[in-house]
């Protein structure tokens, strides 16, 4: 089994990579999990043994080639082994979101025809048993945590450890079968099937081959120079493609250690203890963390507050430059070093991000000031753009070229193109094979030449080659004069102001853009208190002329930044109104996940939209509201409409 590093790229499967690591770095830690208050760890050779035992156990249960094995639970080393063990015997692992309710679960398990289910604990087993009637293919359930399982009928229910022991006992009988099954895995075989959550319609099963995963892991590991001494904390859902790439693909490729938190709630504490060098989190995680820091700073003593703001101001100026390797004056460097000692270092430690060498965020737009905050204190936070169908990576930011408004350059091996309608297409070694049992969707998404539609509209900056995502392709429109109209892009910009809770921008097919603004009662309320502005209700505060002035400033700022942008300068807001009520899911104006429902709002507030475009300076409106107990009422108000002078585009007259 001796294989040199260069031979690594000829490997066809994950089990081969594991065997390579177990031979090459047998005593390095592969997986860690905190249990009973102590970090338990498994070296690569131990992990390989656990995987073998389980694979043999699978054979005793009669797992056949091409069977689907579903995995339901939080991140645990045992589940990562399960996926690799499943691959070892020619089966296909299907990790499922652990918080899926029974109906979602029944769809996924039935759709893939899972014969075996690995469930974490009694709760998950109960969920599967509840829907068992609808699952004809299901034969065996294997559980990890035996607590409360004493009274269950064990006919088709197995304890994970018992199964491993059974596998060890029958090693003689099955070891040849295991070896031959492992050898038979081809690079084009299915590596994993992942269900995309899908905002519309049923979830789709994305099939990724060994080739997809291994090539992607190879390319992305070398892009960020990941190596065996790195370590990650695996806390994002196992059913998400990112976790599969980080905790299995890249981990097995480079041999770095994957640590699993004690449980979901202890993540922050475990993060601090592990101090990962490679870290991924969605923007809202970084946002929440920053908010916590700020709240705690407000409660700190005056001296500490002064030091914090003094050094943070300095960090904002030069921290990012230092990270990007730009030249910085000696005095500034010295000042930064002092700040490092007293503020940045301890802060990074508290956040658990002391050792982060490569940090990524993705999924949605991140506020520039949030992004800059982390970079300024020396955390190499970058952005990437990806999706399940691409085995994560489409674009990512190389060190030294990090910006908050782009998602980076094409990842190694990825080709990009922008269609005439502005939609982003890509083609890469990581491009998925197909949607499971869904040739129609596969055809719609991936064309014959292998180009995949992302559903996002964007453009590539000519001078830097960075991709910028504007909006979902279906939301992007044209204005009357042919300018691009990207409402969400503008809305996101506005929502980065703490005072703006929600906003809706109009302008498709119109001469200019207008906006509805919802103020954030907490932030604006605080501001009002500080400025001695008395108000008795949300409506009154929203209509206050000083609030209008403040929002106008925000919009001016937004317009200025839009004016810098050739493509989007047409999206500057000319007129706006501050709504007299908060947009609410109970009234159908937002979805339950707080996404704006454009059509509903256009319909409901058509009188306000008319007023925004007919030049009137105020409008009387009556709106129906639904109270929490379901009863309906109406509120009426006369709302002021404010004009904003758009900023002239650079080099052109307005």
């Amino acid at each position: 089994m001796a294989a040199s590093k260069s031979e690594k790229s000829t490997f066809a499967s994950i089990p081969e990579l594991v065997a390579f690591q177990a031979h090459n770095i047998p005593n390095s830690p592969a997986y860690r999990e905190k249990e009973y208050g102590i970090w338990q760890s498994w070296s690569w050779s131990e992990a390989a043994e656990e995987i073998d035992a389980l694979a043999l156990g699978f054979l005793t249960l009669g797992v056949a080639k091409g069977d689907y094995i579903a995995i339901i639970g939080r991140n645990r080393p045992h589940f990562y082994w399960s996926m690799i063990a499943a691959q070892s015997v020619g089966a296909i692992p299907v990790p499922v979101y652990q918080d899926a309710v029974a109906e979602e679960l029944v769809y996924v398990l039935d759709h893939c025809g899972a014969k075996f289910v690995l469930a974490e604990n009694q709760e998950q087993v109960d969920k599967v048993l509840e829907i068992k009637k609808g699952l004809k293919a299901l034969e065996h359930i294997i559980f990890l945590d035996n607590r409360g399982m004493r009274k269950y009928d064990r006919a088709n229910l197995h304890d994970f450890k018992d199964l491993q022991n059974k596998g060890r006992d029958s090693e003689k009988k099955f070891t040849k079968t295991l070896a031959s099954r492992r050898k038979a895995i081809k690079s084009s075989d299915v590596c994993v099937m992942l269900y995309t959550s899908g905002t519309t319609g049923r979830p789709k099963g994305v099939i990724l081959s060994n080739h997809n995963i291994i090539k992607t892991s190879e390319a992305s590991s070398s892009f960020d120079k990941l190596n065996a001494s790195d370590n990650v904390l695996a806390y994002l859902p196992m059913a998400w493609v990112g976790d599969f790439i980080f905790s299995i693909g890249q981990a097995c490729w480079t041999g770095f250690c994957v640590s699993c938190p004690e449980n979901t709630e202890t993540m922050q504490q475990d993060l601090k203890e592990i101090g990962p060098t490679y870290f991924f989190a969605p923007p809202r995680y970084f946002e929440g963390l920053l908010t916590n820091v700020m709240i705690r700073m407000e409660d700190a003593s005056a001296v500490k507050r002064f030091l914090f703001s003094y050094f943070m101001d300095h960090a904002q100026k030069i921290g990012g430059n230092l990270l990007d390797g730009h030249s910085v004056s000696v005095i500034d460097k010295l000042k930064y070093a002092i700040g490092q000692l007293f503020i940045y270092g301890p802060l990074r430690n508290t956040l658990g991000l002391s050792n982060v060498r490569v940090g990524y965020t993705a999924g949605e737009a991140i506020g520039p000031e949030i992004f800059d905050f982390y970079r300024s204190i020396g955390i190499n936070l970058k952005q990437l753009y990806g999706q399940t169908e691409a085995s994560v990576y489409i674009t990512q930011q190389p060190d030294g070229q990090v910006r908050s408004d782009t998602v980076g350059i094409a990842s190694p091996g990825v080709e990009l193109k922008i269609s005439d309608s502005g939609e982003v297409f890509y083609r890469s070694p990581g491009t998925f094979v197909e949607y499971f049992k869904n040739p129609k969707s596969t055809k719609e998404t991936k064309d014959a030449e292998g180009w995949v539609a992302t559903g996002d509209a964007g453009f590539i900056e000519a001078e830097t080659g960075h991709l910028r995502i504007i909006d979902r392709a279906k939301d992007v429109g044209k204005m009357e004069d042919g300018h691009l109209f990207a409402p969400k892009y503008v809305e996101n910009k506005l929502k980065f102001f703490p005072n703006v809770l929600e906003c809706v921008v109009f302008g498709a097919g119109r001469k200019f853009c207008t906006a509805f603004i919802n103020i954030d009662l907490n932030a604006v309320g605080n501001w009002a208190e500080r400025n001695n502005i008395a108000y008795s209700s949300y409506q009154e505060l929203a209509g206050h002329k000083n609030v209008y002035e403040m929002i106008k400033d925000h919009i001016n700022e937004t317009n200025e930044s839009l004016a810098d942008d050739d493509m989007l300068s047409g999206c500057q807001i000319h007129r706006f109104v501050i709504l007299h009520k908060e947009l609410d899911a109970d009234d159908g104006e937002l979805t339950r996940t707080r996404k704006v429902r454009r059509r509903v709002i256009e319909d409901k507030f058509h009188d306000l939209i008319n007023a925004l475009y007919d030049g009137s300076s105020e409008v009387y409106t009556e709106t129906e509201v639904t109270y929490e107990d379901g009863t309906k009422g109406a509120i009426s108000a006369t709302l002021a409409i404010a004009d904003v002078t758009p900023v002239a585009q650079k080099g052109k007259a307005a």
């Binding site: 905190k34 249990e35 009973y36 208050g37 102590i38 607590r147 409360g148 004493r150 009274k151 004690e262 449980n263 709630e265 202890t266 504490q269």
Partner: protein
């Protein structure tokens, strides 16, 4: 008078012979008769509930079992022997642990330290040995800490391991208290209103833990509870008290159909 045999529960568990028997217990505080001539038994491995309206004498009964009150009349048999009047700590050494209706934790100490105090009855090294940190004291500390970590894992309170108990919400404090009682590895666990003041979800969690403790460790549990629904769901047998007297005793379904019990709960006028 009461059966000492083992029996089978409807869900198929085998309940052992009785471990504790109350014989004609009466307890008075001055002129107030808190408990009047009550007899019942607790079998090994069962979940035995004592229910009744406010002021029925439930907590007094628990305090009698616990050795905190000494009844004026009657005798208590524990593991077949008549129990002499004892101090509560002596009873703790006999393997009886309890929780309290209004939480009696050390508020300034962490969850971990609070549960560690429950291991006191299992520590053999004296203060001197612990001060000089002898090998034996260290070994003992490690063993006990490991045991406590299993309880923390069992009760799913890893998040609050190091949090001072006083900062925890009520429901979690109750859970820590249960943890401390479990740390003593009791053969009989007494729970005084484990669900009082909890919301529905917390009650469901607590019920789950009580059932799991019974199932996993085979601990005999006697509990007092207000919430009829919970009791009927988890108890094997129920004693019903009203005004210091026993008005019913049997399985939940028997008790539910007992006319005296219905009257006591629905509030018939008492003559």
């Amino acid at each position: 008078m009461t059966a000492t045999d083992s029996y089978q529960t409807p869900d198929g568990r085998t309940i052992g012979p009785n471990v504790m028997e109350m014989r004609n217990i009466s307890l008075r505080f001055g002129g107030v008769k808190a408990i009047q001539d009550i007899s019942f038994d607790i079998h090994e491995g069962e979940i035995r509930a004592i229910i009744g309206p406010n002021g029925a004498g439930k907590s007094s009964m628990l305090n009698v079992i616990n050795g905190f009150y000494h009844p004026q009349e009657g005798e208590i048999l524990y593991k077949g022997e008549v129990r002499k009047p004892m101090k509560p700590y002596e009873i703790a050494y006999q393997g009886i642990a309890r929780t309290f209706q209004n939480i009696a934790l050390f508020k300034g100490m962490s969850t971990l330290d609070n549960i560690m105090t429950g291991r006191l009855t299992h520590m053999k090294t004296g203060m001197l040995e612990q001060i000089i940190w002898s090998g034996r004291a260290e070994r003992e500390e490690v063993e006990n800490r490991a045991f406590v970590e299993h309880i923390i894992d069992f009760l799913e309170i890893q998040t609050i391991r190091k949090t001072p108990v006083g900062r925890l919400p009520y429901g979690l404090q109750k859970r820590v208290e249960l943890g401390r009682a479990l740390a003593a590895e009791p053969s009989l666990l007494l729970l005084d209103e484990p669900m009082a003041g909890m919301n529905v979800e917390e009650k469901e969690d607590m019920s789950r833990f009580i059932l799991d403790v019974n199932d996993e460790f085979g601990t005999t549990i006697a509990l007092i509870e207000h919430d009829m629904g919970v009791v009927m769901d988890i108890a094997d047998r129920v004693v019903v008290m009203d005004y210091g007297k026993k008005i019913g005793d049997g399985t939940p379904s028997e008790v539910r159909n007992n006319q005296d019990v219905i009257d006591a709960y629905l509030g018939v006028s008492h003559d």
